[in-house]
Amino acid sequence: MNTGLELQDVSLSVGSRQLLSLSCTIAPGEVMTVMGASGTGKSTLLAFIAGFLGDAFTAEGKISLEGKALNQVPAEQRRIGLLFQDALLFPHLSVADNLKFGLVRTAGESRKDREDRVEQALEAISLGGFGERDPASLSGGQQSRISLMRLLLSEPQAILLDEPFSNLDMQLRGEIRALTFDSIRAANIPALLVTHDLADAQAAGGKILAL
């Protein structure tokens, strides 16, 4: 039923210079890696898929998710989640409000139910009771876990990872990487990882595409 994320004859260029062209299918639960030096258009590819391509770029080709074409769908309706290098927890919101920001509403759910769901999510990443905390007061690892949980609570149907582990120290890196990939497999959704680190690509365990 879920056919994953499909890129058909995608070609991105700036002016007359072509950045990349590719066709691929990412199966649900798979993490495909795109590797390449900076300037090869990795981030542009993610921007194109997520729906944020700048006017300076021209793009061709078709993006489809679960068989539905996405090219004309606005970013907020694509249900494609993003994870950046930094945790980027909204600094003006509490930890719980950060998680609630993208929380998908289910019919007939009360405010209390939503709060319970947020608390359960925090417990799942061993941060129970952290809801009222200021994100700035948390460690880097804790922020990364909350960032990942915020993404998962928005119930994306595909995830784009933009070098999400490169700002973490070695010890944390393995932990957060495992947690991220396990969550993607558990949610059974396709993911596209952009990185320049071969260890990340190998840990992802999916196809590797070098640009």
Partner: protein, 237 residues
Amino acid sequence: MLTSVGTEWRYPALVPSVWSTQQWTSALSEWRAPLFNATMIALLSVTAALALSLFMLEAQARSSVSTARIATFLYLPLLVPQVVFISGIAVLAERALLPPSLTLVAAGHFLFVLPYVYLTLQGGYARFDTRWLMLARTLGASNTVCFWRIRLPLLSTQLVTAVMLGLAISLSLYLPTQILGAGRIPTLTTEAIALVSSGNRSTIGTWALLQSALPTLCFMLALVLPRLIWSRRKGML
């Protein structure tokens, strides 16, 4: 400060020899209307300037449409000599059969406040990390939701600065108030300047202090407010 409470203050004395609070009590009875006018004009002009600046910057941020060209016109009131510019506006207002009023003065102030408000906010928009918005959009927030729940809160410090700077400028404007109000809309600034020619030092002292108190308060609030609002969010400071 001292001149406002001294009635007799001869040369060698360090402090006035005769003290009186009479200047203050009489000023207090006369300052209500000027204070009200000044505050209303400042609030009206700054609100309008804030709305227009945000509208222009947000439009520019969301599309490739550049409002930068229009923005250069905003600086016109700062480049052209005030007397000429304001007289022109006054003539236009008269042609349009707009009688001198508080609203007309506020409209004039708006033109002078706008460039400062716009510049302050433009800095905030230019430095804004667009990843916040991308993140919010992928979490399901529309452009409008992003504006209210992400853009404005994250720009709160610049917003407070812009508003306070705008208020302080409007409160200190003299010529636009005097010319567009045809002298019939007294504010703290016009009264203070009118009294300078009175030669009564303690009166001048009292009004000079009143006139500068509000702008000073604005600048203090610009510094203190963000710290108060975000005392529990260290990432915002």
